[in-house]
Amino acid sequence: MATVLPCPTEDCREDIVSTPGPVVIVEGVYKKYCSSLRHGMVYGIIDIGKLVFGGKPVSASLRKQEFWALHQVSFRLDKGEALGIIGLNGAGKSTLLKLLNGIILPDRGEIRMKGRVGALIEVGAGFHPNLTGRENVYVNGAILGMSKRDIDCKLDDIVAFSGIGSFLDTPVKFYSSGMIVRLGFSVVAHLNCDILLVDEVLSVGDIQFRAKCYNKMRELMKKGVTCIIVSHNMYDIRKFCNVVLNLERGRVIGFGDRDEVVDAYLYRTNELGAIRHYSAPILIPHMRKAAPVVLEEISVLGSSGQRTKEFNPRDPLVVRLDFEVHEPRNYVLWLEVIGQDGGRVFTLNSPVGDHALYFPRGRHTIWATSVTPSLVPGLYGVNAYVWDKRVHMYVDYLDGPSIQVRRTESMDDRWGAIRVTSQWTSKPLAPAGHS
């Protein structure tokens, strides 16, 4: 009779006390890529030849058509830390993750990983449409390095997590694309690992599933799994990471405290014009052509009445709007303040309904002053819309300048989107046992 082996539970893993010190050490790592297919083929043959027949394995300098995808990257992570890697497309984030995963080797430098590495990079690897969900879980698990026993133990959890339910024994080709992704993610999420690499996969699935993924990640982190996350979503980065590495064209331009590095990155991307146009609505073209009102300029003014880009947290926001009216009638002007992710923080509008302001033909200037609440430190954009009461439509839209609310030393206005003043009262409770 076969003995039933107990499942390797998560609990027994925690008994093992790991040695202190960094679990990830990246030291002076360089990686080069080739920008030409043809040269790449030749270099590939040369490099493999050198590896097999000895000799200097990899030339540490650049050859024709090659460039450094990563340039002298160094950092260390302690056990249980969560690192976020950010940067624009092509900054080398994925390359760094591949190096950490051991898929490719550095051309210079050294990477040391202590513990088992799991990678939440590709979901549903090796899935075959003709195989059932169950069969694919085993194939996928095997590719990710799980043993059959391991998968047997976790199958119920995996299926429950994915929410596939009764479709488990249906060929995967009859799944919706979301179901495939969910099943794939579930397998990866149940890997046993000490270091977890995550590449932008948290954006899969519907909102409900995403919440599950977030919770799963938290659970792993609580267990002391060291995480390395690549994401373009600064909310995710702020939510999960305590340290952040900012890459730009293969070089580390920031490493350290989460908020500092993320803010620096956002200011930098804003300089590159990334946040603008993020929330621009689509106006119907013919309406725009015959625009009865044309917005000309939005200016953000400081307390002195001068244009400014930087504010202190408690400064009132004064916005000046210049526009030209071609068809005189009642209009409503809207100002929206958008955050770093393009979401609206709040809107201001001129009177609506029967009180909508009447504008005669010609140029106009209007000022809006926000009284309260005020913004927390960060980067914001100010945009304007005009609502035409007669046609019940927005008839023009204009991107405004971006503004920065300065960071202050105090802790009280650090988080959230807006600052509100509040009153706190307290009253001592009666000691237990007395009524």
Partner: protein, 291 residues
């Protein structure tokens, strides 16, 4: 995940020269870590193999019949050519259909295995660039398709034997079965090299079918080498000649006139396997960059 045999607290070091397990064997360890990698990947080999077989025979009406229809058709064509007198030959002691079918069965181990392995890295490209897993499993599992194919053809041989009421003694069969292994090893070794080559340049995938066809005609698979002929002389140095014909000799006669040549061919196959495997092992991380 990670490297074979890695413990929880063992440190894995990636350098430009390859991956090293801190405190692990360095110089001596290469062959042993190659073997360990393969042993640890056995489950993955099986899963991938199962997936590919299911995929191959899954969505066809005739399903499992295809690998039977194709050889029957091929053998029928060659038998027809033989009957028509286009392909004349002496000294075959067995019916020609049986002769050509066994030749085809042994040859197919080589051709099926090579066809499957050569493209395996390219096909798994998206996976290779994103997941760290022992790629050797891809090659081995693909090559195992030739085993399925051989098994099916063996059944056909059994059927044909019973049709002709020709039953070779068991020890002939066992001998032939052992002698057929080297051609599989050769195909695996070549497969390691070719899939890497295809990873760098896709030309290989277009050239291979042509080459295999030419080799099949060139190598005495469907006809015995006539002593003294040009083909015979050219085939003296062709290891495939011995790897196909010696098992056939064993099956039908229980002995072969080419013991030395066969031994050399076996040695060649094993060396090529070791070379290809090592090349593959070393080139793995390089190929993930190029694929």
């Amino acid at each position: 995940m990670g490297i074979v045999g890695q413990g929880r607290d063992q440190e894995l070091i990636y350098t430009p020269w390859g991956k090293v397990l801190a405190g692990g064997p360095r110089a001596l360890g290469q062959l042993s870590s190659m073997v360990r990698e393969l042993v640890e990947a056995r489950e993955l080999v099986w899963r991938l193999f199962y997936r590919d077989v299911r995929a191959q025979y899954g969505q066809t009406f005739l399903g499992v019949l295809w690998p039977i229809i194709v050889p029957v058709f091929t053998v029928a064509v060659f038998t027809l050519i033989h009957r028509a007198g286009i392909l004349t030959m002496r000294n075959i002691d067995v019916p020609y259909a049986l002769y050509s079918l066994t030749g085809l069965a042994f040859w197919s181990i080589f051709s099926v295995s090579l066809t499957a392995t050569s493209g395996c890295l390219v096909q798994a490209g998206p996976m290779i660039v994103k997941i760290n897993f022992p790629k050797v499993a891809l090659v081995v599992s693909s090559s195992l398709q030739s085993v399925v194919d051989f098994f099916i053809k063996s059944l056909l041989i059994v059927m044909l034997c019973s049709y002709y009421r020709m039953f070779p003694p068991l020890w002939h069969v066992v001998l032939a079965g052992l002698a057929v292994l080297p051609i599989y090893l050769l195909s695996l070794g070549l497969g390691f090299v070719l899939c890497l080559a295809a990873g760098i340049s896709r030309d290989i995938l277009s050239v291979l079918p042509l080459t295999l066809n030419a080799l099949m005609i060139f190598t005495p698979v469907f006809y015995p080498g006539e002593q003294g002929s040009l083909l015979y002389r050219l085939n003296v140095a062709n290891p495939l000649n011995y790897l196909v014909n010696v098992p056939r000799d064993f099956l039908f006669q229980g002995r072969t006139a080419y013991c030395t040549e066969f031994a050399v061919a076996v040695l060649f196959s094993v060396s090529l396997l070791l070379f290809g495997w090592r090349l593959f092992y070393l080139a793995q991380p390089k190929i993930a960059e190029r694929i």
